[in-house]
């Protein structure tokens, strides 16, 4: 594993098995998160974003969710080989998660200060009681909540404040990687802007790497260094933010996604949506998963899965660009 990376995922396959059918949620995902950088993982409902994150935490729903194959290297350790006990030590310490709904991710009967304390006590790293207390105050102040409110219960905070507490909780043990699953989707725009701004500042200050899972290309543009776009369990395009937002070549799905966003600055009245729907994850098409909706679909797209084509840091998984490879970084 590369020293500069905090997370490397290789060829991850995850399935959900129920009595009736098998859902192919993640199909061969490769991801790299560099130290201190933010990766935006973009996709629509059911694209497999959350499943990928839960696989990193090894928190897939028991009995139903299985990692079929692949490798997850987190901070130099292979997550798949760790025991459940080791995993518990890593969660909240090396890697922590921020969930979409701040209302349900805090325990309603414990004060927020205590909740942050608990996490710090689990991962002590030789801190004394006093140091832990100081750290609780410091964390709250850091996310813009007066330390005097540490004895309040979650219901005494508004939605935006609760999400700040959740972020403080996630950052308390100085994790190397944060998995933020739609952290601002449940918030109002002005509050979302506040939280995003705060996350941007903390990221620089603490040098924490982050995977930001979202469906909002606007949020990604404002916060992320790298971007990966998921569709039906595959990463169909990835690269730096510049590659995704400013390069000329794109996966047709990416183009469709951008076309679907109502643009506040443009005059156009009609939007250009992608026709049709995401394929049924229990019954994926043989070739490219986007082929059935793709405006530039060719015969080969329906038969064969496309290989990844690299343009420097920019990677696209589409037959349109097969053979065009140039300036690819040596493996």
């Amino acid at each position: 594993m590369d020293e500069r990376n905090v997370l490397e995922i290789r060829d991850l396959h995850v399935i959900y098995e129920t009595d009736q059918d098998t859902v192919y949620a993640v199909n061969g995902v490769n991801l790299t998160v560099k130290k201190g950088k933010t990766l935006g993982l973009v996709g629509e409902t059911g694209a497999g974003k959350t499943t990928t994150a839960l696989s990193i935490m090894r928190l897939l729903p028991k009995k139903i969710g299985h990692i079929k194959s692949g490798e997850i290297q987190l901070d130099g350790r292979n997550v798949m080989e760790l025991t459940e006990g080791d995993m518990r030590l890593i969660r909240g310490d090396t890697v922590s998660m921020i969930f979409q709904d701040p209302m349900t991710s805090l325990n309603p009967v414990i004060t927020v200060g205590k909740q942050i304390r608990e996490s710090l006590e689990l991962h002590k790293h030789g801190r004394s009681e006093k140091e832990i207390d100081a750290r609780v105050d410091e964390m709250l102040e850091m996310v813009g909540i007066p330390a005097s409110r540490k004895n309040d219960y979650p219901h005494q905070f508004s939605g935006g404040m609760k999400q700040r507490v959740v972020i403080a909780l996630a950052l308390a043990c100085e994790p190397k990687l944060i998995l933020a699953d739609e952290p601002t989707t449940a918030l109002d725009v002005t509050i979302q802007a506040q939280v995003l701004q705060m996350m941007n500042e903390l990221k620089v200050k603490l040098n924490t790497a982050m995977i930001l899972i979202t469906h909002d290309l606007g949020v990604v543009a404002q916060t992320c260094d790298d971007v990966a776009i998921m569709y039906a369990g595959e990463i169909i395009e990835s690269g730096t933010a510049e590659d995704i937002y400013e390069a000329e070549r794109h996966h047709p799905y990416t183009i469709g996604l951008f076309g679907s966003i109502p643009d506040m600055d443009s005059k156009a009245k009609r939007l250009n949506p992608i026709p049709g729907l995401m394929p049924d994850p229990t019954n994926l098409p043989a070739g490219c998963p986007f082929a059935p909706r793709c405006p530039r679909c060719m015969d080969i797209c329906r038969e064969k899965k496309p290989e990844t084509t690299r343009f420097g840091t920019h990677e696209i998984k589409c037959h349109l660009f097969a053979g065009e490879e140039k300036g690819s970084a040596p493996e």
């Binding site: 026709p275 049709g276 098409p285 082929a291 059935p292 405006p295 679909c297 329906r302």
Partner: protein, 300 residues
């Protein structure tokens, strides 16, 4: 242009398979082995009880005393479950007792569901003062011990199967009123109720067409469990002599009659006891299975 059409068609082919609601519930229920066991036991019991007049004579086998044959051991010729202290066939008495127990169980629940459900629906839908008055009355009813109230009513009206039915129905009404009311309150916040109001749908139609079909799950479960409860209560009332009167056979009555001889001939109480247990158990197993099968949260 042609490609677009093709793309659309390809997507459509991947459409989710259609599956009716009832068959979906049945599918989930069938997977629950214990619930299926309950259902099968119940079906067998019901079949035996319903067809009883075809192979047993009420007069000869159930009522008429054959003192010569008293306390025949189980598994002997002609009396598979033995005979009681009057020489009456235990199997025949248990089967005829089951006819009463099961019918009464269903009748009590059906009646109290109808009355209690209506009260609960009105209270939940209209809320406010109506809700307050109705539910406080229910609270008072609920505060009285069920058996005690049934005893009081039977004592006043006399021991008769019809009075028994009235007594136990009244005792069960508040439970159904509560469950229907809470189901309705939950569904009322849904937007499809508002949609129905937005096109001027009248209240009874909203309750019958939009609310009740969606509230049916918890109600059915409660009803199933309540049948079991009623069978026990009926047996208990009969046991203390306020229920079904001898010589009419009933499981509780049989227990009561057998209790003098249970030291020497334990089968005379074990058999009706087992019958009560089996019936109650199968209703409970089925209720639990139904609860799981109907719970939308467990879908997928």
């Amino acid at each position: 242009m042609k490609k677009d059409v093709q793309a659309e068609r390809a997507v459509n082919e991947l459409e989710v398979k259609k599956r009716g609601q009832l068959s979906y519930i049945w599918f989930r229920f069938r997977k629950n082995k214990l619930a299926m066991l309950g259902l099968i036991l119940l079906a067998v019991m019901a079949l035996i009880c319903i067809t009883a007049p075809l192979y047993l004579s009420y007069e000869d086998d159930v009522v008429t005393q054959h003192v010569m044959e008293k306390f025949t051991k189980p598994f002997s010729a002609g009396h598979i479950l033995g005979t009681d202290h009057y020489g009456r066939d235990m199997f025949a008495r248990i089967v005829y007792g089951g006819r009463i127990s099961l019918t009464m169980g269903f009748a009590i629940v059906a009646l109290s569901l109808l009355i209690g459900g209506t009260i609960g629906a009105i209270a939940g839908y209209y809320g406010g003062v109506v809700d307050n008055i109705l539910m406080r009355i229910m609270d008072v009813l609920l505060a009285l011990p069920q058996i005690l109230m049934a005893m009081a009513i039977v004592a006043v009206l006399g021991t008769d199967i019809k009075n028994l039915l009235i007594a136990m129905t009244i005792a069960n009404i508040p439970k159904f009123a509560r469950i229907v009311r809470s189901a309705i309150l939950q569904i009322q916040g849904q937007e499809y109720i508002e949609a129905a109001k937005a096109c001027g749908t009248k209240d009874p139609r909203i309750i019958l067409r939009h609310i009740l079909p969606n509230a049916i799950g918890p109600i059915v479960v409660q009803a199933t469990l309540q049948i079991a409860q009623s069978i026990i209560s009926l047996a208990a009332l009969s046991f203390i002599g306020l229920g079904v009167q001898s010589p009419q056979p009933e499981w509780g009555t049989m227990l009561s009659e057998g209790k003098q001889d249970m030291m020497l001939y334990p089968f005379v109480v074990i058999e009706p006891g087992l019958a009560i247990m089996l019936a109650v158990l199968s209703f409970n197993l089925m209720g639990d299975g139904l609860r799981d099968a109907l719970d939308p949260k467990l879908k997928n």
